[in-house]
């Protein structure tokens, strides 16, 4: 499902116009990411947990130039499925 389909479904579900849905979801994501950027984890019932995770710097080998590159440490957004969702998915 692409973003387009997603927005369409959401607008049908909420009764908002597509533009409104786009705006709202954008600000929702912004809020969510703002929290993540502050190092907080966000739990959403029925879906799972979004949390920031620190990735340590590592060495990467470039096979063509045969050199090692140091990849700097970074923070990524990590998602873990909730147990409820797992049960729901594996019902069949």
């Amino acid at each position: 499902m692409t973003n387009k389909d997603f927005i369409e479904k959401l607008s049908r579900r909420t009764g908002f116009e597509k533009d409104e849905v786009k705006e709202l979801s954008a600000s929702l994501i912004q809020v969510l990411l703002g929290e993540i950027a502050n190092g907080n984890s966000v739990t959403i019932h029925g879906l799972g947990v979004f949390e920031p995770r620190e990735k340590a710097s590592r060495k990467m080998f470039n096979p063509t130039s045969k050199t090692y590159i140091v990849v700097p440490p970074k923070t990524t957004l990590c998602y873990k499925m909730s147990a409820a969702l797992k049960d729901k998915l594996n019902m069949e």
Partner: protein, 420 residues
Amino acid sequence: MNEKLSFQNITDALAQKSGVSKKVADAFCKSFFDTVVDAFSQGEDVVKVKGLGAFKLVTVDSRESVNVSNGERIVIPGYKKIAFAPEDSVVDFLNKGADAEQAPSLLESDPLEVKSVKSSLILTEEDVEEKDVVADLIQVPEPERVETPQDSFAGIDMLISTPESVEEIRQQYQEAKAKMDAAVEEARKANAEKLRLEKLLERMEQNMEPECAGFPVADVEALDESEKGAPEAETNADEVEEKKRQEALNRVISVPQAIDEGEKKEESAPSKKSGGAKWFWIVAFILLLLSAIVYFLHKTYLSIDSVKDVEPVTKVESKAATAKKTARPKKKSVVRDTLRANTDTLKAVVSGEVKADSVKKAEPEVRAERPATHIMKRGETLTRISVRYYGTKDSVRAIIRANKFADPDNVHVGAEVKLP
């Protein structure tokens, strides 16, 4: 920092940010996340949300493991899970945010601030806005933050304003201009040379008309010298008149520009020399024909309609025509086959046979027909047999246990494998 936030906090923040009532924000958030979940229960594989990332349904295979406490072998059943890959922009945002992250923590350490979830929420909201707009960053009363944007702009300013750099740029510009001028002059010279050569050629041709009936040796030499370049040819031309003529011929043969001049050649040059030109034209004609044939063949392969349209026009094209004839029946048969296949599948779809068939075919392979033994064929592996008869590769170990192979990694062709 490192707080565990729930759904409630997010909806409150959203209500504040977008100016919607809390009820609406709550409903929207709920349906937002429910849409993601529902999409998967409706059989969707991937859900992409712009600005956040992609949720992907992943199947984890069942695997065998060992119970640590009693050493028993156990099978961990396979399951489905949802994996999430954040967008690049998200990761960028989080890593850029690492600098701004210190802002709330500094403010939090302020004694006036109360450490509560709500306060941190408000702060983070402001924080988000700060990150969005550079102007906001400058307004924040913190020396580090103020400096960073200026630094980045300062680099550009340096380039633009410093007198040294301006001079450098001027120098570079002048150098570039000088190079350009030189190139233009060269081009002019080359043009002039070309013109001169052409004039020379014309003159030579005129000179040749009366004399050059008897130059058989010159022809051979001309062919030998055909590899030499234009400038060399010029110097030679100054030396002897005979050689001039040879080079004239050379140019006709070797230089592609000579096509225009070639016509004049044919008119003016004597029989033997025009013979070379004739050969040239014959070769060109053959090449043209070949390309035409290739083109027609290509067309026949591209579309069947074009085959019908394109009929052999000349005798020479009869070759192409025969080729077409051979190609045509194949084409038609292929088309017929595909058409048949299409109609068949259509019928099947209409009557719902496809589903039934595929289910019937798939099931017996996995379960229903399981003989007591299997005879190994070439290229088969125990894993493949396991997948074929049990539907999972986990049964490999069971098969190995039931058979007592000398070497389970190397079972010979024709060996009888018991299926437990």
